[in-house]
Symmetry: D2
């Protein structure tokens, strides 16, 4: 297999850093361009920003220049703040480049949702409904991803919730049309932003809920449940920050009289090990975060209480890996016909 | 007011340590006896075990001796492992001492529940149904606590859940007879036990669910909802350990079409500031842990989504304070007619 | 004793918050004015910024207004960024108010040191040499503090180093005129500043040295060793940030052939328990941080190796308490003739 | 190159786990046997103990059986508690196996040191002076390691200290024959032991010095300085535990009038990038831990203050990687003629 030239725009955020970490071990990819919105006068050696990558990578970090980006790569990962990819992507597409976008800019098919959930009006609504743009939940859209020019990589919360919820909705096991999710994320999920609320002295020894029932990952969850399972549930969502760097746990509470065996069967049937190498099903208990940190696994465990009539499903992943950079590379692998696990095991 | 002589049995656990911390600031109490099950040959200065209490306390720590305990105190806090208070309490009661027990030994009125939830057969079932023994959820049983000889201090999870759930059940706002709780606790909740699973290197950068739908605090929650509100809901419960030392957050998910105003009204009516000085109601969002750490407050916030038909209620407290030692002292204050906030603000 | 009216300028930083926490338990003080440089349109209830102080304090937080400050208080704590107290203090002094300043603005007697160590030229050099201004290392300057109008509260590192070093220099036990210090501080020491380097995801699982041999607390250490002990050592200093919220540990390495007994004697003689209630001497080992957190203690332990010819001295304190707000209150107590431990045990 | 069959005895400790993590990416090695002292009735799938290694490894964990170990491997890593390798190693050597031992059992050449520093009498003193046994500080003993049958892998503290100290002693830059070291380690360095002092609730928000001037890594440091540089300094050593999982930082304080340039030259000459791929020299500042975590790098930075006459040298590494498993694999690579960085970049 020939080597693919790959660029990262937004290489100084946590997601960009994780992309570098993973791609350095990818057998079919070569990093050719690393850019950030920072105002550098001249390229900076990657070892200066990320000493742990020294001696593994001789590409420099430079200020983002679309022309340089286009000439340097075959495919580009965009790990930019919300709103930036929307402007940059069309130029890349026009130049024939393929894109994996890790922001929310292309996740929602309905442009009218952007003002409410992302506080901007979408500049290229035509792309949102184009077949060239695909929502990159790998385990559900491999064929379209293969053909896509732009993959909208799912949000971290959305990935953990959808992988756990979709089999239940597809099997029509959810009985009251409601999906209740209690989720916890590490601080890297908030990005490398200079905000007081993200300081160590504010977040250590704390747990902070935020955006209850109003987080921007909700519409993509609901959109996807409708597309994949034809269901239109109502959703309750409680995201919370806990004092860990990486890791994300979503607990789903779902009304169902299906017993533990039927639930297990729904998961196992949907995620056979051979075809879903990154999904691990653990009936009988809920997973812990340690087992997935720095891996591309999503561990799904559940407990069903027949008397209660509810299933409690825990879905654990690393927000930077399966919840962002890992899944993005999984999508790249699918797009280019590489083995799906290339660079990820 | 005269000074009450108070003993602590189990002074070397986290709860015992918190009792000392708080009682040192109590205006009407004098610590006269501190004991632990440790096998000390002779009394050890408290400053040796707890240097931060040096110069504040001249009582030594000694090996637990019931006779010494009885002669030293008017009232005793028992902060012993489950099963130990069951043996010790009758001796103290016979000697005319009043007790606040922080274990689960006297929380359940039905002795037949002990083998399943606590793995022992209760040695004194007659006490469980005696009027001398009262479940110490202060805000709900002040009159009985005042007259009690033994107060069974509620569990930390149970306290946070009940304070948030009872007003809703009393007002009959819960529509489907179900109570779903997703809770997170700091490591001090597990006690000062030499177990591999509690090591820093196992728990840092981790979140671990455990005892899903099978935690021993469930029966006291259900017992109390029935006693106070006459309701018999089914309960789902997901306790989780997160890497903090102190703090406990319970999120309750409750089906209700009552709007935010009615919910707020239910809480405000049940917990008027003048009569429930440690309950703070925060409509419109969920509380964070920082605001309650090392306080006796329980912060209750909620969000109601009319479209979803569910209320999400967050109940935050410090597991060692309002969830254990603080509430225990609050109960002592009620038992002896001290101001309820004495030593706790 | 009558009640002193006390103000805090800079009440929204970590030091300001700690001042509030401690002063709420002070028997002779009433908080009458809390201000911050934040641009609030109108006063904000303290419970909104600090929910844990709710029901304990009915003063609001407001934008700093010198006139309001002057009229509201008898004495003021200034917990402002470096450079701000220098402008504000003269106005307060002129109005007859007494000040405890927690910044570095008045710590150095030689104005020519400010440009190098604090990057500003001092606007009121005459105050630096005035007898009205005293360096507030309580254990060493009680008499002058009693008479002072402005107490320059020592830096957190400086406090821990000086309390451990001064007895050795006074007793002339340091043989080569060198003081080597390796120190570690929690993140609250850096203040509540929105800087990327202070984020949880940057500081957790990290240790970061900074300003090696160039930290601004060095000149006040050297100045004080000269004033108190007449010595002019050379100093090496390695400050480091570790992932804790509070706490500061300074290890001193000192060449000396004095045996452990003479060293112990030097400390015990200088800090008799009755006269130095916040200094605890622990020969034979180095203290741990837990024992001093949220206390005003400075724990000093040491090991002397005769073969090596060096003493290793550990000096542990809470950077927000004995290293800032606690010592500031200790100084207030001395200034006004309150018991030195008032509000601090 | 053919594939080497490799065993790990002690696979359930943190070091054993790190060996697995790294060896899974090693191109010339196959894990054939994983054992622990745990009393398992039958082999346990590695994915049960370490879910993150699932799908990467099909070897089971089993109770340590010397015969099975011998028949399964060409070379063995021993990651056992101190004292265990001493008994096991001779059997393996007799069977013609080569060993990398990660305990202290073969680090000291003088058997008479064991009772004092390790609390046991060495059972095979003849091995300690045998040429078959080599101290595995890779950067200094490549030739002997190549020929060794048993490599005694250096201690974590010792590695960080020696890599920083040896060039200075070799260049005779240390002027007073003293080496003062202030070091901090994460909790994984203490091993996966069920001890109260290692609990999250005891170690979070704490820093704890221990074994000051009496840690068992001291004699190997002094032995190696003598062997390599012919110097016999006196050493002061302050090890400390800080609340991180991985990472170790040693600060060395060394009297020298050599300027920064000569010090830099000493390091650069001793560790040219081409020949010491895991040593990174950073003149002018001290390294932070983040840059080395989960890498095999040792970052050495320094500051020299001519006026003080001391150099402050910081040496940072990951205690589980360069401080244990990584260096062990580096030694394996040397022993078998693999590229020294195989599996480690």
């Amino acid at each position: 297999m020939s080597t693919l030239r790959v660029a990262i725009a937004g290489a100084t955020g946590y997601t960009g850093e994780e992309l570098i970490r993973l791609l350095l071990n990818h057998p079919h990819v070569r990093l050719t361009y690393l850019a950030a919105s920072a105002k550098w006068d001249r390229p900076v050696p990657v070892s200066q920003v990320y000493p742990r990558f020294a001696r593994k990578l001789d590409v420099s970090l430079e200020a983002l220049d679309p022309a340089r980006l286009i000439e340097s790569c075959d495919a580009a990962f965009l790990a930019l703040p919300h709103g930036a990819a929307m402007e940059l992507a069309p130029k890349l597409l026009q130049a024939g480049k393929r894109i994996i976008d890790l922001s929310g800019d292309f996740r929602l098919g309905n442009p009218s949702l952007y003002p409410r959930w992302y506080q901007f009006t979408h500049a290229h609504p035509e792309l949102l409904t184009s077949k060239r743009v695909v929502y990159g939940l790998t385990e559900y859209h491999r064929d379209q991803i293969k053909a896509a020019d732009l993959v909208a990589n799912p949000g971290c919360y959305a990935t953990s919730i959808l992988l756990a919820a979709l089999p239940l909705f597809q099997q029509k096991l959810v009985e009251d049309g409601r999906l209740l999710v209690d989720a916890k994320s590490g601080l890297s999920g908030a990005g490398r932003k200079a905000e007081t609320s993200l300081l160590f002295a504010e977040t250590a020894e704390n747990l902070r809920p935020y955006k209850v029932n109003s987080h921007q990952h909700m519409p993509e969850v609901l959109q996807e449940i409708q597309r994949v399972a034809g269901a239109t549930p109502k959703m309750g969502f409680t995201p919370q920050v806990i004092p860990i760097v990486r890791g994300l746990m979503s607990n789903l509470y779902v009304k169902t009289s299906a017993g533990a065996d039927r639930i297990a069967a729904a998961y196992v049937a949907r995620y056979p090990a051979a075809q879903a190498p990154f999904i691990r099903i653990r009936p009988g208990s809920l997973p812990q975060l340690r087992d997935v940190i720095e891996t591309n696994y999503c561990d799904i465990g559940f407990v069903h209480d027949p008397d209660l009539g509810y299933a409690t499903i825990g879905s654990a992943l690393d927000n930077l890996t399966k919840g962002a950079a890992g899944q993005a590379i999984q999508n790249l692998n699918v797009m280019y016909g590489f083995p799906e696990t290339a660079g990820l095991l």
